[in-house]
Symmetry: C2
Subunit: 315 residues, 2 copies
């Protein structure tokens, strides 16, 4: 959304305001004001014409303009009804030199998880990728993955879901709260992809998939959704809270690890992590700034960078 | 080079051997043997026909078959007379799923250094990229850059050049040895590029540029070449030693840091490092496994991940 349209929208939100008054305030023609109002209506905003001018009477459920409206985070938003994968679209934007762009899709036709796994992404979920260009070495990239997991958890909790983080990149519904057998079910995942030099990231796409307004039947066996847990929520607000929380953590990287630990279901659990070098079994005691899990095993502490993690019942 | 051609070449090297004997030994037709011999001649190998068969009488100066012949490292070699950039070609090969391929070019038309800087790459130098797919997190990528710097240094030393490493990724000619004013002049550089998930490298291209058989006039002001230092050397052998040393270090990652420190001109020097956050001035005391320089400054130790490094004269 360009600056003038943003200003028109803000004025309508504070309205009513007449077209001539708005034209004068924004130093554009009355025709320009009218065109912006029509464009906002096309994007789904409800703009009423009342006796003393225009006034905003409704905001669209979802979309680029909807998410940008009232967003307190420095991102441009790009929306698609359908994309193969928001991370792949972010990669295209990166090749064009873009940065600080949020890609949103109503559904993904080829959504992916870690290690190229499929990720079911029907219409109604939040499928989004943040394209960033932080001036950091690749070793700092995992910290942004951790930040995204914290941001998703907080957005889900604000929506009323008792969410927590499961290492490495999942957000699940808390075990103890749920007696339905869905306990620990997966609500969201984070997949960060990157390109760069060995000492410096060129770009980074933090992909986030959240099962929001989806039926249990649309999901994989072990997954749950916001709808299944607490009913539907406005995706616009969900994404805004997620982006705002992420932006705040990005600006305060020293807070990320603490925030992650506080929300982590994995820390303190007995775990089995399947790695390329075999299984690691022990007590998960911490996470490092490189996103690695520290596991106390019978053979001493092991630092595991990647793998699939199972929470085991204590003996 | 396919397995049969490799076997034909080895037999010719041990020759003389007759066509029929070779056909029988390799279980191929006599026509096939003849075709392989002709292909080797096309690639620049000199194959003499003597009374008791064929014998290898000469190896081409450079090229894929030349470098693969006698190479004790598990890489396929791809050669081009000219490429825009060997790293870009490695990236293309990565997209096709390749791994453990060495890309060689006689010259690069768009060679690049760190941070997108130009890198002069005329015919006669060694311009090469190693495409690898190590199963490691991105934080381990810098270690392979350090290994490449060690491998280049050792290949240069074997060629008679008193080379050492300058942080982050340069190989230079030792200061004290040289009274001509070329002291510390740049001989080679390493540029590692990568793509992957935050917790796992997908592919990694270790680009190495060495000024080998080049005139000083072909080089940038502060650069030198093997030719300028000790005269021309066979590039085939230079690349083979480089690849073999790199492969050995890759298999023994615990040796890399020690080997790097032993060859580093920077450690123990007073340095000024220009970083994105300003200059860091102090004594360079160590390098980390993430390739960062540890600098003792007036305000304590600082760990610098990226920047341009100047060696200062002590006060």
């Amino acid at each position: 959304m360009n600056e003038t349209r943003r200003a028109v929208l803000a004025a309508l939100d504070d309205g009513p305001v007449t077209g001539p008054a708005l034209a004068e305030r924004l130093e554009v023609s009355r025709t320009a004001v009218w065109k912006h109002v029509e464009a906002l209506r096309d994007a789904g905003f409800v703009v009423d014409s009342v006796a003393d001018g225009y006034v905003l009477a409704g905001v669209p459920e979802y979309g680029a303009a909807a998410v940008e409206f009232g967003l307190d985070a420095p991102f441009d938003v790009e929306y698609h009804d359908a994309l193969p994968s928001t991370n792949d679209r972010a990669r295209e934007l990166a090749a064009d030199g873009a940065s600080d762009v949020v890609v949103l899709a109503d559904r993904q036709t080829g959504g992916k998880g870690r290690r190229g796994r499929e990720w079911s992404s029907p219409a109604g979920g939040v499928w989004t990728s943040l394209l960033l260009r932080p001036d950091v070495p690749p070793a700092r990239a995992p910290l942004l993955t951790l930040a995204a997991a914290v941001a998703v958890t907080d957005a889900a909790r604000e929506a009323g879901v008792d969410a927590e983080i499961k290492w490495p990149n999942d957000v699940v519904v808390s075990d103890e709260r749920d007696s339905s057998g869905r306990g620990g079910a997966k609500l969201a995942g984070v997949l960060t992809e990157m390109e760069g030099e060995a000492s410096r990231v060129s770009w980074l796409a933090v992909g986030v998939g959240v099962n929001v307004n989806l039926d249990p039947g649309e999901l994989d066996g072990e997954a749950t959704s916001v709808r299944a847990e607490v009913g539907d929520v406005p995706r616009r607000v969900f994404v805004q809270r997620l982006l705002e929380r992420f932006a705040a953590l990005r600006d305060d990287p020293d807070d990320i690890l603490t925030a992650w630990r506080e929300r982590a279901a994995t820390i303190g659990q007995r775990v089995r992590v399947e790695t390329a070098d075999g299984d690691v079994v022990g007590d998960a005691v911490d996470v490092t700034e490189h996103g690695a899990l520290v596991v106390d095993t019978a053979d001493g502490a092991q630092v595991v960078h990647a793998g699939d993690c199972q929470h085991l019942r204590s003996a």
